[in-house]
């Protein structure tokens, strides 16, 4: 087996190589290495610009001096070793991408079992114990091993240095270490599943988790604990990189919003995750040493566990949405060819969400025995956290106004995000309303609320981002038609799955229920039907993206004609990203809708023979 010349500099290599390694064919590996010839030249970028004085608006964002021939980062060694020991942020991003995709499908299989089980009120597919293990592992994997690392560790890792014009993150070795920690934590969690599973729910409330559960709580907690340190390492890295490694001229208010959101996310990671770590350590000690910090029989207070857990986990839900907002803020201006409406407010709102997000955790405890005063406080703060989100939604919408909008796949995902996030967020506000939450807490209404935000919002944003930057990552274009088809399938499947759950929740169906009263069956069947469509929708990209690695069109450096430093280097980028340090002279999103129309029109004009007056 050999790699044809034309596919050398592609992701295809990664996959074949891993396959080869697993087969243990060291000889083939050597063969691959001997095949490494001079990689093909990637097309030249714009020639270096003469001097600052002569910049024209569209081109003055960057001065990039590009060498004649470039080695893409994918060509920097083809061995398994060259991937597993690479400190290149781009390669680490790919490693993350492969692992989280794996975890997503494991979590998805658990979701499939959940949904199949719930087709009938009395079940029958699996045992009660299995069902409890399924939703627990579904929650744990989807949250800690998929969604939290999804955008930051994959796209953030790949793009942050590119977007700020740096050669790498500040601490590349720590970056690699954090991937290993992630995998290590993942192994523990997988071991927990294989060793019999965990049945505590992802929230692991004490004293059930600390005293009563007879499942692999220790292994799962260890897995989450270790992964927590991976998250912290990533967070520290991002913060330091953003502060110290920006290209000359790239002031804070010239940063793309994706960088803002990644920075805010990193802050949350650094400030919230340690509290989860210590909480898990205490749970650990309760199980192993029999101490009783959360155990009422030993004078402990189980609500302390909940406070500590949600102090982490509520901010963590913003880890799971902010980067998605960053992606949407990149995609919408690009495909609407218009400057983002009120960039500064959106940037500040990002920090508003990250900051206020730390003040609302008690809204998960309205009926848990929290004091009335605390509930009042947390409720009003939860209402206030909606304001910065509202600002963002309205600003994205306003960005479309007077744009010149095209509907490639990334844009479809971004538009889907706006709608679904709004619904998810507004139902979050209903949950933040004290009296209403009393009846809705721990029902399917909550399930629907967070799936709308996490799946409808963040997973959509992640997929949008993957499509948007796919050309940059892989050097290939994805097939547009398939992309659109998958986006549509996912949207329809999603709504069908989770909209009925709002009704179920309002009717009173509690969550984590293996059995349920028969009157809830119709809606559950609807939801399962939706989930099967959703499952197909998620499998599609897996196939056509893989396909595109081999057969996709070669991507130019800037296929979307987008602004931003990452588009100023080759696709895929060379190992050190830029051959010369870019110099930034302008803010982001300098798109001109009219210009975009003019480009278009001038080509059509000859055929259509329409007067050149811009429309009404």
């Amino acid at each position: 087996m050999s790699v044809p010349e034309e596919h050398r500099g592609s992701l295809w290599n990664v996959l074949t190589n891993v396959g080869v390694a697993i087969g243990g064919a060291i000889g083939l590996n050597a063969l691959l290495r001997t095949l490494r010839g001079q990689p093909e030249a990637t097309p030249l970028l714009k020639p270096p610009l003469a001097g600052p004085a002569e910049h024209t608006p569209r081109e003055e964002i960057v001065e990039a001096v590009v060498a004649e021939r470039q080695h893409s980062y994918l060509d920097d060694g083809y061995t398994v070793r060259s991937w597993l020991l690479s400190t290149d942020h781009k390669r680490i991003a790919i490693l993350y991408m492969l692992t989280i995709t794996l975890f997503f499908f494991i979590g998805g299989i658990a979701a499939t079992i959940i949904r199949l089980q719930l087709v009938t009120p009395q079940g029958g597919l699996v045992q009660t114990a299995t069902y409890n293990r399924m939703f627990t592992i579904h929650g744990i994997i989807m949250v800690w091993f998929f969604l939290i690392p999804a955008v930051p560790a994959v796209l953030g890792n790949f793009l942050l240095p590119l977007m700020i014009g740096a050669r790498d993150l500040a601490f590349p070795k720590i970056n690699l270490l954090s991937w290993y920690l992630f995998v290590f934590g993942g192994l523990f969690t997988t071991a927990a599943v294989i060793g019999g599973g965990v049945d505590t729910g992802w929230t692991m409330y004490a004293p059930y988790s600390s005293l009563y559960s007879n499942s692999q709580v220790l292994a799962a907690a260890a897995g989450i604990f270790i992964t927590g340190f991976s998250t912290i390492a990533t967070g520290v890295n991002f913060i330091v990189t953003t502060h110290t490694m920006r290209a000359p001229g790239l002031t804070w208010f010239r940063l793309p919003l994706f960088v803002w959101t990644i920075y805010a996310t990193a802050l949350i990671m650094v400030l919230a995750t340690p509290v989860l770590a210590i909480t898990l350590l205490l749970i650990f000690a309760e199980r192993v040493l029999g101490i009783g910090v959360f155990n009422p029989a030993q004078g402990g207070d189980p609500l302390l566990f909940q406070h500590l857990f949600w102090f982490y986990s509520h901010p963590a839900v913003y880890i799971m949405i902010l980067p998605g907002m960053g992606i949407v803020s990149e995609i919408i201006p690009c495909f609407a060819r218009k400057k983002l409406f009120s960039y500064t407010t959106v940037a500040i709102a990002t920090f508003g969400i990250a900051g206020i997000g730390f003040l609302v955790w008690g809204h998960h405890m309205f009926v848990a025995g929290e004091s009335m005063y605390a509930s009042l406080l947390f409720s009003i703060l939860s209402f206030l956290v909606a304001i910065p989100s509202a600002i963002k939604v309205f600003n994205w919408t306003a960005t479309l106004y007077k744009g010149s909008i095209r509907f490639q796949t990334p844009m479809l995902y971004a538009l889907g995000f706006i709608g679904l996030f709004t619904v998810g967020g507004l139902t979050g506000l209903m949950l933040a309303s004290l009296a209403v939450d009393v009846s809705l807490h721990d029902t399917y209404f909550v399930i629907a609320h967070f799936h709308f935000i996490m799946v409808g919002g963040m997973v959509m944003a992640y997929l949008g981002g993957i499509h948007y930057w796919w050309p940059k990552i892989s050097g290939r274009m994805y097939p547009e038609l398939w992309g659109k088809l998958a986006a549509l399938t996912i949207f329809i499947g999603f709504v069908l799955t989770f909209l009925p759950q709002f009704v179920l929740g309002h009717l009173g169906m509690p969550r984590r229920y293996f059995h349920y009263p028969p009157e809830f069956q119709a809606l559950n069947i609807l939801s399962t039907a939706g989930a099967s469509i959703l499952g197909v929708g998620y499998i599609l990209p897996l196939f056509y993206l893989l396909w595109s690695l081999r057969h996709g069109e070669k991507a130019p450096a800037n296929p979307w004609n987008a602004t931003g430093l990452e588009w100023q280097t080759a696709s895929p980028p060379p190992k050190h990203n830029f051959d010369a340090t870019p110099i930034v002279t302008e803010g982001p999103y300098n798109y001109q809708p009219e210009e975009s129309e003019r480009d278009n029109r001038s080509s059509e004009e000859s055929e259509r023979d329409v007067s050149a007056t811009p429309g009404r």
Binding site: P302, A336, V367, L384, A435, P593, N600, P614, R616
Partner: protein, 380 residues
């Protein structure tokens, strides 16, 4: 930076539809209610029955919020789709001076949500308070949760498992505790829910308004058979309820059982009238302020009595030695409840609180608020 980020000349953007459509809110809510009723008729209900006094108030908030959420979501979606259509690439729409700021608009779309948020916060908070603050004269039902069953006991002594019979039109207060992990008492038709904690008492209350049979769920995940920890609430017309009470083999009342225990466990040995150990009398204790040795003054409520029996060292009455033994582990949660019921039955006889209060802290006795008293007690 050679150019300003801002584009001047703010142009008019379509006005935010929320304000214009406020009038539509009512009609939409009505539509929603009709759909719901219709669906209910067809055996496909979209909402749970409204069977308690609070349920209509909760639903009022819920449906108003839902309506508003729909309006907002539809407006956003409408605008997105509308802009997408109008400004699609290649359309002939006017794109001159695309705005990238508009101060007035931004203030509006920050200000209006803030206002709405505050209104709904206040409304829901008010209702929440009433959901937990029981009116006087409620029937006290003692609830013990354990994996995976509900044990309920009436003040008249009837015990039930996974079922509760209550009269319509009378407030019922639930005094709950758990023997193992956290559970949650959830009756969708009444819109009430409260976690049931081990080692602590929590309460909630409701007043059924419609006779019928309603689901009782355990809403907090509590292990293997969490989804089987369900039961039924039977709301009955008062006459039926009386009949049920008399037909059901009433065990001795909680208080009576408590009295027996009180003797058996030797409580009366210390707390009785003629005793060697100096211990406070418990007559009329319930509901009265109690000054503690650490300077605080607390009200002797259910929780206080509960704690005084299980953890006497926690709150020692001022002027007494902490000699009372802890009964934690020695007696079951049920028995604690019986003791508490007995102590409560000792009545609010007058003449009890005052002699025991340190003179300078007494002041107005029960009339003084908690805060005032604790301040006074501290000044001492």
């Amino acid at each position: 930076m050679t150019r300003k980020l801002k584009t001047e000349a703010p142009s008019r953007v379509t006005s935010f539809p929320l304000t214009r459509r406020a009038g539509g809110l009512g009609s939409l809510a009505l539509l929603l209610a009709c759909t719901k009723a219709k669906a209910q008729e067809q055996g496909f209900p979209l909402g749970p029955p409204q069977a308690s006094s609070i349920s209509t108030r909760v639903d009022a908030i819920f449906y108003t919020e839902l309506t508003l959420a729909l309006i907002i979501a539809f407006s956003v979606c409408f605008l997105v789709v509308f802009f997408c259509f109008k400004y699609r690439h290649g359309s002939r729409a006017n794109r001159s001076n695309p705005p990238s700021r508009n101060a007035k608009l931004e203030v509006a779309w920050i200000g209006i949500p803030v206002l709405l948020a505050l209104i709904f916060f206040a409304w829901a908070a008010r209702t929440y308070f009433d959901m937990y603050n029981p009116p006087p004269g409620a029937i006290d039902i003692y609830v013990t949760a354990k994996q995976w069953m509900w044990k309920l006991q009436h003040p008249e002594g009837q015990r039930e498992i996974d079922a509760l019979h209550i009269p319509v039109g009378r407030p019922v207060r639930l005094i709950m505790t758990s023997q193992d992990v956290i559970h949650s008492f959830f009756v969708p038709a009444f819109r009430i829910k409260q976690d049931v904690l081990p080692g602590r008492e929590t309460t909630t209350w409701f007043e059924a308004t419609q006779a019928g049979k309603y689901h009782l769920f355990c809403a907090q995940y509590c292990g293997l058979n969490h989804s089987r920890m369900t039961g039924w609430i039977y709301a009955m017309e008062p006459a039926d309820y009386e009949r049920w009470l008399s037909q059901t083999q009433g065990e001795p009342t909680l208080a009576a059982q408590g009295e027996r225990l009180y003797e058996q466990l030797g409580c009366s040995g210390c707390h009785g009238a003629s005793n060697t150990v100096r211990a406070p009398t418990l007559e009329g204790l319930y509901g009265k302020p109690v000054p503690l040795s650490n300077g605080q003054v607390v009200i002797a409520d259910d929780r206080y009595l509960h704690d005084s029996i299980l953890l006497p060292k926690l709150q020692v009455v001022a002027g007494y030695k902490p000699v009372m033994p802890s009964f934690k582990g020695a007696i079951s949660d049920d028995q604690v409840m019986e003791l508490v019921a007995y102590i409560k039955s000792l009545g609010n006889n007058a003449g009890r609180a005052d002699p025991r209060l340190p003179q300078n802290a007494v002041g107005a006795g029960a009339e003084t608020t908690y805060q005032q008293q604790s301040v006074k007690a501290r000044i001492k």
